[in-house]
């Protein structure tokens, strides 16, 4: 078994960096992987240009890293799922599905204060997380009130463990657009949301 892992590790040479959110820095995870090509659909709309397969020897400590990148590359990836390759009772390799996350965003929600009357008023904004996501246009939705008005609806894929609900919204850091979250669902191991662009 050890031979299988050792043999596998001869082909996994690419250093994997993990995003340390607390320090806002990329850190060496100590993991080494091998990148594969993936050419299937990854969402209802997208081909596999934004999805890669990374094989790693052994069984890495994945929960510590929800966003990774490969040393020398500018692309950040979400770890969308992991599959163990086993022989006997031992994991000799792990196959990760990586989903490219090209957009830096803040995930925010409004904060409220309660008045003596019991009515809650918006008092400010709380940034829940600053991270990377994938944004994929889903459709245009016709306004129920104004027939000539269409809203752009996106599907946004978030890192594992991101706390999301329909009271949160996403602020893109590249252009300042705000996407209101209308629905939250699970896509393999990562949370995803249907979002409507504000304005």
């Amino acid at each position: 078994m050890a031979n299988l892992k050792r043999a596998h590790s001869r082909f996994t040479k690419t250093p994997v960096l993990g995003w340390n959110e607390a320090g806002s820095v990329w850190v060496d995870t100590g993991l080494r992987g091998r990148l594969q090509v993936y050419d299937r659909f990854i969402t209802e709309r997208d081909f596999g240009q934004r999805k890669r397969i990374l094989t790693i020897a052994g069984k890495p400590d994945l929960p510590a890293y929800n966003v990774v990148k490969l040393e020398g590359s500018e692309s950040a990836y979400l770890i969308e799922s992991s599959v163990e390759d086993m022989s006997g009772a031992e994991v000799y390799a792990t196959t990760l599905a990586l989903h490219e996350a090209a957009f830096a965003v803040q995930i925010c929600r409004k904060t409220t204060v309660e008045s003596q009357s019991g009515i809650k008023r918006v008092a400010g904004e709380q940034v829940i997380a600053t991270t990377w996501v994938d944004i994929s246009r889903y459709t245009a939705e016709v306004s129920a009130e104004f027939k000539a008005t269409n809203f752009t609806v996106y599907t946004v894929y978030f890192p594992r463990g991101t706390p999301l609900d329909t009271d949160s919204y996403v602020r893109r850091l590249d252009n300042g657009e705000i996407l209101d979250i209308n629905e939250v669902f699970q896509a393999l191991d990562i949370p995803a949301a249907r979002c409507q662009r504000r304005g």
Binding site: V113, E114, S115, Q116, S117, G118, I119
Partner: protein, 158 residues
């Protein structure tokens, strides 16, 4: 009338409904509330199948002239899956009791934050003259019934 008197009046009504809802939580643990002109919150409450207290600030008219006014607002309840509308009528009776004909209420500024000291400055005086139940309404699966509360209010000025 001070410019903020309608807000003081409304915050007093808000507080009375909120106090009643809090008092009813033992009996109705999932009870919600919605000021029906707060569109976003009302939408959320109406999508739920839990019971709710409702209210809506209506009219405030100088008569015969300021600082005396006629007022009108609605209080009510919403329920779903409520055979015979018994819960609906029970909740309506509870909230009507807060604004029963003949009661009088001092108006204060309850817009302050919950952690602030309570204002001791009286801003006006409200007296309920009538409280009448209206016919039932519906929103999809929800039954809704309001009572219209009318009376006189006096502003003490700023």
């Amino acid at each position: 009338m001070a410019n903020d008197f309608p807000l003081m009046l409304k915050s007093t009504i808000d507080k009375m409904v909120n106090d009643k809802m809090t008092a009813l939580l033992d009996k109705y643990p999932t009870l919600q509330w919605a000021e029906v002109d707060d569109m976003a919150h009302t939408d959320e409450v109406f999508k739920s199948d839990e019971p709710a207290l409702l209210w809506q600030f209506g009219a405030l008219t100088p008569r015969p002239r300021a600082p005396m006014y006629d007022f009108e607002f609605a209080v009510g309840a919403k329920t779903t899956q409520d055979p015979g509308n018994y819960t609906l009528i029970a909740l309506l009776s509870e909230i009507r009791e807060v604004f029963a004909a003949g009661i009088d209420v001092q108006i204060f500024d309850y817009t302050l934050e919950a952690t602030d000291p309570v204002s001791q400055v009286k801003r006006g005086y409200l007296m309920v003259a009538s409280n009448e139940i209206e016919s039932q309404k519906f929103d999809k699966q929800s039954g809704i019934r309001y009572a219209i509360v009318q009376g006189k209010v006096v502003s003490y000025g700023s």
